[in-house]
């Protein structure tokens, strides 16, 4: 185990344009990559996006107890009978896009986070970082962005709430039960 603390003067970073004060984050998967992970090889997908009616939004809100912001539901029917959804949730400090696979009965078959954006500045390690090289015990071996973060923990409660809301959406709008009820 080897570790080292580096303190970058905020002023230098600001001059070098190394801090992006806007949204920073990680893109883990595209929708296609998430589909490939959540479904057997060879599964095909048929887009089935829906716009929720006011009544459906009210029902989902009541059924799940979770607030709804987006009228649009991004859904795909998979050739194996399952469903694939892409949804996003807003946390206190972050926005998360995730993919959800549901069985026809509305059971969660899998979840993959696709993107996570934080309202937090990302640190880039450009050339000026060379000035820290060899200062203490050897040179810095990584170039590029600092992608990893430790410290104050982000909660995942909003993702759990998103899944509960999507399950209600599935039951009330997409399932056989919803279809036969003439929704």
């Amino acid at each position: 185990m080897r570790s080292k603390l580096l303190l970058f003067p905020a002023a230098i970073i600001a001059t070098a344009g190394a801090v992006q004060p806007a949204m920073a984050g990680a893109q883990y998967l595209t929708a296609e990559q998430a589909q490939a992970l959540l479904f057997p090889k060879g599964t095909t997908f048929t887009e089935d996006f829906r716009l929720l009616t006011d009544k459906q939004m009210r029902d989902i809100r009541e059924f799940s107890g979770i607030e709804l912001r987006d009228r649009k539901v991004r859904a795909w029917k998979a050739s194996n009978g399952d469903w694939f959804f892409v949804d996003h949730v807003l946390g206190k400090d972050d926005t998360v896009y995730y993919a959800l696979a549901l069985s026809p009965k509305g059971e969660v078959k899998g979840l993959e986070v696709m993107e996570c954006w934080e309202l937090y500045s990302k640190v880039r390690l450009p050339e000026w970082r060379a000035q820290f090289k060899g200062k203490k015990d050897g040179e810095l071996r990584i170039k590029g962005d600092v992608e990893s973060i430790t410290g104050v923990t982000l909660s995942s409660k909003h993702i759990t709430e998103g899944v509960i809301r999507m399950l209600a959406t599935y039951t009330l709008v997409f399932s056989d039960q919803a279809t036969t009820a003439g929704n």
């Binding site: 570790s3 003067p9 986070v113 973060i149 430790t150």
Partner: protein, 290 residues
């Protein structure tokens, strides 16, 4: 993205109440995804066993029953409990999993369902009866939140079982472990105003951080953070620490000790081969241990 690395795959899932991120640098995408799946499965297992919130977890069963009879637990829960007691002993109670009761009082944890009200107790009231068998001398509410996340990270890295020359990275909401040939630069999110941007480079080891700052709550006449020190007082509300250690369970546990008493922590850090980077607004950054 660093250009001198092989193809890397990073995925994230919501587990342990936070976002868990796992990365493997392997050019074989299927092998990388399979390893990452094994990592997530291991983390989910630890969540199932050690969650304070899930009524069926070992922790919930212990809180409900261990004061009346000895309770059989999963070997992994047993290992975490045994190690928790080692940290309690070494730190003379600065690390104490029976702080769960206090965290419920302060509103950081929900009241455990069906568990008898806890009495004034400590880690000394936890009795290892036998292999995988634990009893409490009195009703206690234990919480493994200060150690299980680190353990889950270690378990994930072990479950991935990739060769030593493959760069692996597991981060459970800031408790992280890096394995493989390269150092990983890690930004510290301190929630404290500073005039520098702190970054820790960690190579073949673990890093965990704690700060009471972001999660302060009002309680009675004052403010409390989610860290309990001696005499059950809230500690670390204005300070921050990152601990680097050979494994993540150790790093995770020691952050609580450093936050509670940075000076007392020094020899303890040394004992476990760990280093703490500690910040408080009056002293600035101080390096402790090893």
């Amino acid at each position: 993205m660093p250009s001198d690395l092989p193809h890397r795959i990073t995925r994230a899932k919501p587990l342990l109440g936070t976002l868990v991120e796992i990365r493997a640098a392997l050019s074989d995408t299927d092998a990388a995804n399979a390893a990452i799946d094994r990592g997530f499965a291991a983390v989910a297992e630890i969540h199932r066993l050690m969650s304070f919130h899930e009524v069926t977890s070992d922790v919930s069963r212990l809180n409900r029953e261990a004061s009346t009879h000895a309770v059989d637990v999963d070997p992994r829960t047993f290992e975490v409990l045994r190690k928790a007691l080692v940290f309690s002993e070494r730190s003379d109670g600065l690390f104490d999993i029976t702080a769960g009761a206090r965290l419920v009082t302060w509103g950081f944890l929900p009241k455990p369902e069906g568990a008898p009200a806890p009495s004034e107790g400590s880690w000394k009231d936890i009795v290892i009866e036998d292999q995988n068998r634990v009893r409490f001398r009195k009703p206690l509410w234990i919480d493994l939140g200060g150690i299980a996340k680190g353990y889950a990270v270690d378990e994930a890295v072990a479950a991935m079982s990739l060769p030593k020359d493959v760069q692996v990275y597991v981060n459970a909401g800031g408790d992280l472990r890096v394995a493989g040939p390269l150092a990983e630069p890690v930004r510290l999110r301190t929630a404290i105003e500073m005039d520098t941007v702190p970054v820790i480079e960690i190579e073949d080891g673990a890093l965990a951080s704690s700060s009471g700052r972001e999660h302060l709550k009002s309680f009675k006449d004052g403010r409390v953070g989610p860290h309990v020190g001696r005499q059950g007082i809230s500690v670390g509300a204005d300070s921050f620490t990152s601990v680097a250690a050979p494994d993540c369970l150790t790093a995770d546990a020691l952050t609580k000790v450093v936050l509670a008493a940075p000076r007392e922590a020094e020899p303890i850090l040394g004992h476990f081969g760990a280093i703490a980077y500690f910040y408080d607004p009056s002293a600035g950054w101080v390096t402790l241990g090893a």
